[in-house]
Assembly symmetry: C2
Homo-oligomer: 645 residues x 2
């Protein structure tokens, strides 16, 4: 049973410095609404589903056989499947903190024991290398994933330690970390791993244990990176992010998930060591990436080849890669920036990625997931079968994947979601994510209990009710999202307009007081920067934090929808969308639909082909709903007629 009094209880990130201090996940209970439904689905379904699949595919058995020295059959799965076992363990650890009387703790205990059983006496642990392949240990740091796997093991251990528990899992994590320190810690060692991840994990382990040696090793890995010690990947020297030092690079590049995990680790280290110049440099990289290399839905990494960032403004909607893990890594990085800087733009990004990528990736059944997140689907595809773990990643939601980083990443995010909601500082409390919740924590020396009432994102009203407070002054702040074109805050009869950023109210809060944020969620048109050539001459429709799309279920070839004027009328359809989430708001608009029945022999001609068009009403739906009504075509960016440059 975890100890609910642990000072870092349930915290996904617990910096010792920085502008803001996260409110422990244990102090935040999500209440009925958009995110609580998903957090519950994660606990009830995603976690058992993940445990089932890591068993089915032999990924847990690999530990059993490593422990037993059983070489009879070839090991199953890719060489980094250990990481998915660890991420499942991490998710269970967060879930055990959140619901200590639920089944997660017991499920985790067995997994932890299994993991620990495969560890070698010196702390080495890997079911691909090690044991019978002992001679190959650490011979392929570029693409062997050994330290990457340690990183996820350590993150799982940190999650468990932050629940106040010590068990086989935490013992394995500590032993692996100590083994890494012993093996890679020498000052003249130049080695790094091809996949960043251990950096953030080591800093977090230092935070929870107070042991400097883990922080030191993280710093060494960060300093060593960027000096071309790893082999070049065929995709290009930037793939492993080892070709140029972090401080020489001004925008994220290379493999997107690697770049984002590296950002998180570097930021953690910079915060702990007081390297404010690096914090600022990393924030500059982040801002430039948001400005030029991020999709409307918050996805990062536009290229399938190398799962990598493209050039500035290279953001094709149809073959957007925008890996689910990239969104999750982006949320993790954004949260670290929020804590370090206190600035609201990072939580703005997290909100965008959460509602339009993370929510999209999870099927309402809890048993299917997206790996890649396109913004245009021209070619309807059926979902893979219930027993399929496809090799390919560009499928509709699949039960699992041969490379299955995304489902386990979703699981650990949802289980720790409450830790990404609110912060405190010396003067008060800040609410970053607008979600129904009960928050009971210490604020400026007093115990405060708040309830956040909202049906966000469907409604733009967020009411923060003070349930408990002793009347001494403190400041309550709430993020006014960047998307809000108008917003008001009401406190005790006082109403004022606010602009995006943090809306703040300082007073002697008493039980029954309320701060109400009213955001204008009128559907809006969004015009992409003309430098994003792939969506030239189009607009998107958004409402609140949600990106909308034109989806046509039924499996037929794509009809081309065009908006007949540059300022089309958008009408909310509050009854929801047929067959879907009762709360969902659709947006009706008039589109001109072209059904080209002819296919010219050559698609480049003196003029566009004549085409018949019909004008009719189409109800756009939130992007996260796409693909739930069977094979469909979908597009976020709709061509408009009559635009001017």
């Amino acid at each position: 049973m975890p100890d609910p009094s642990h000072p870092q209880r349930g915290l996904p990130v617990a910096p010792s410095r920085g502008r803001l201090t996260p409110v422990p996940a244990g102090d935040v209970v999500l209440e009925d609404g958009f995110w609580r439904a998903r957090q519950d689905l994660n606990a009830s379904t995603v976690l058992p589903h993940a445990l089932d699949w890591i068993d089915r595919l032999g990924w847990t058995d690999a530990f059993r056989r490593a422990a037993a020295g059983d070489d009879a059959r070839p090991r199953q799965g890719k060489l980094f499947t250990d990481a998915d076992v660890y991420k499942t363990a991490e998710a269970l650890a967060w879930e055990a903190s959140r619901t200590p009387y639920g089944p997660a703790g017991e499920r985790l205990a067995g997994l932890g024991t299994l993991i620990r059983s495969a560890q070698e006496p010196d702390g080495y642990l890997n079911t691909w290398f090690g044991h019978r392949h002992a001679a190959q240990k650490y011979t392929n740091l570029s693409h062997g994933f050994e330290l990457y796997c340690y990183g996820h093991l350590i993150q799982a251990g940190v999650a468990r330690l932050r629940g106040g528990a010590e068990d086989d899992l935490t013992a394995a994590a500590l032993a692996a970390a100590d083994h890494a320190v012993a093996t890679f810690g020498a000052d003249d060692d130049t080695r790094v791993d091809g996949h960043p991840e251990i950096e953030a994990a080591l800093v977090e382990l230092a935070r929870v244990t107070g042991r400097e040696r883990y922080l030191d090793l993280a710093g060494k890995f960060l300093a060593r990176r960027g000096h071309d010690t790893l082999e070049h990947h065929a995709i290009g020297p930037e793939y492993y992010l080892d070709d140029r030092p972090l401080r020489d690079v001004d925008v994220l590049r290379g493999h997107a998930v690697r770049a984002l995990y590296l950002t998180a680790g570097a930021l953690d280290h910079a915060v702990e060591t007081g390297d404010d110049a690096l914090v600022e440099h990393l924030a500059g990289q982040w801002d430039r990436t948001i400005a030029t290399r991020t999709y409307l839905h918050g996805g990062m990494g536009s290229r399938h080849l190398g799962e990598s960032f493209g050039n500035d403004y290279e953001l094709p909607p149809e073959r957007a890669y925008a890996e689910t893990c990239g969104a999750i890594a982006g949320v993790m990085a954004a949260w670290r920036f929020t804590l370090a800087t206190g600035e609201p733009r990072f939580a703005d990004h997290a909100e965008r990625a959460l509602f339009n990528m993370v929510a999209t990736a999870l099927h309402p059944s809890g048993q299917r997931f997206l790996y890649v997140n396109p913004l245009h689907v021209r070619h309807p595809l059926p979902e893979p079968g219930d027993d399929e773990a496809p090799f390919r990643k560009d499928t509709p939601r699949a039960p699992w994947f041969w490379v299955s980083c995304c489902p386990t990443n979703l699981a650990r995010l949802f289980a720790s979601f409450s830790g990404y909601v609110a912060t405190t500082d010396a003067g008060g409390l800040q609410l970053h994510q607008l979600t129904a919740a009960r928050i009971a924590t210490d604020v400026a020396g007093q115990r405060v209990v708040l309830r956040v009432h909202t049906s966000y994102p469907w409604d733009g009203t967020v009411e923060i009710e003070v349930v408990e407070a002793d009347g001494r002054d403190w400041e309550l702040a709430v993020r006014v999202p960047a998307w809000a074109r108008s917003a008001r805050v009401e406190v005790g009869g006082d109403v004022r307009s606010v602009v995006p950023g943090m809306a703040r109210a300082r007073r002697g809060w008493r039980p029954g007081d309320r701060l109400t944020l009213r955001l204008d969620t009128t559907p809006r048109l969004t015009v992409p920067d003309p430098r994003i050539d792939a969506v030239h001459g189009t607009v998107a429709v958004e409402r609140g934090p949600l990106v909308y799309c034109a989806e046509v279920p039924g499996g037929a070839a794509e009809a081309r929808h065009t908006l007949p004027g540059p300022r089309p009328k958008l009408t909310e359809v509050p009854a929801g969308v047929d067959g879907l989430d009762a709360g969902a708001v659709g947006i009706a608009t008039t589109v001109r639909t072209t059904t080209e029945t002819t296919v010219p022999a050559w698609p480049y001609a003196p003029a566009a082909p004549e085409a018949e068009t019909t004008e009719h009403e189409l109800t756009l739906v939130p992007l996260y709903l796409w693909g739930l009504r069977g094979p469909s075509t979908m597009r976020v960016f709709l061509p408009v007629e009559g635009t001017e440059e």
Copy 2:
């Protein structure tokens, strides 16, 4: 010394049936002009350069060491480098036919002896498998490339046999083919290779030797394919084209070069066996591919991931993969369709791919090549150094590549180019490619000598002069390209307008007679089909067979050029382009150039950002010239203002 009287002399494809019979390469001598310059460059520079690189990288040494059983060091290069040695041999063989007194024959002799020396007694030949890895022979048909390599060896042997020579190379090719028949020929064998290539090679070998067994084996490989006997590639089941039978597929898909080689092989087999239904089916696949999956420059295969075709109309210009080998394979397939059907649309495609892909891929130095052929370069990149063979493929022209299929493919195409120019049938001669040439061949029972005078593509006049003919009636036909908006043919004072297709004139031709084709090469605007979303709201500029581009050398970030109206004025700049090919014609137009100096924090907004524009004249250059003036930005499709859907 090759025998210049061989009936298939120099012929890259020699079907025994079909509508048209190719005029042997030996009967066509290119004269000074666009293609002759490149053919000479190939002989003088590309071939020695290729020989140098296959030595430098150890790809020839692999044969030496396989022959000697030398295991001392690890073999260098990817597991299909044998194929590039064979393609170099094939190119030398064609070149030895073309220039029997040149150095190609001698260079080839040494290479042929080396190749033969590594062959095992039963005909098996592979420097990766075999010998010390004998137990692994044919254990990885999906991705081992053994039969693919045989295919290229056999093609080299065919080239040599069609020069009338028999030597070590032809002995090795015949032994490998017989080994393949013995190993894979059983009726109940179901095996196929992951990379098609051997099919066309076996049919061609049957054509040149008259041995049915090679044709039979090709037919077996074709019939076996499409029944899921190969492992699925991670990219998807269509990658190896083994998931669905050829006859069930109505458009090219999967790996582009694999698909095009398979088309060539299937068409060769269908022609030889009289399977007209299959010929028609393949032509339908081809037509659909041209209509929906081909770039303006003739490139095929839009995706970097899997080097594969995308969905219909998925043709992004910036990250166009459009591999050079795909263009070459397309020319090879198109020529086979030309011969089988006699229809001119196939040579139209070949012309487009030759002028805009093949010519683009070859640097004027003859020592650098493009692998990938984009239509938009946003990010200027320097060329790799003179000693670099990069892993990555999306570089500017490089001296060689780690996977270097494209340079050797260019070499074999240029060396055999004369074989793709003209055909005969019972009634006359047809000129398919409009190139300066001397053609001396048998037409309708008489010896005919023609000279084609033209400075095409710079000038649209193509004059065919009859040098020798005995006055009996026959029909002279010339392709009027599909791009021509107006064209006239003059024969003996008679002038008539002609439309795209074959312009034909039947008469008793006598020495001194002339047929003159006059094509209108006025620069023209080309509008992409609106279904190609990635170029929505843009136009391209073409002139004759050439696609033009806006290129800005200098290495600076891209400025955005917009055409200020839907029908911009295009003016020829006949003085050529500064520093480039004297014959080149530029096209001046007025563009509005936007230099966004600000980078908004988020590139999606209620309206496009304000930007300063300057109007000025820009000279567009033929696409094949891009990148020759140093690192540059480039785009083929230019946004236009004021277009209507």
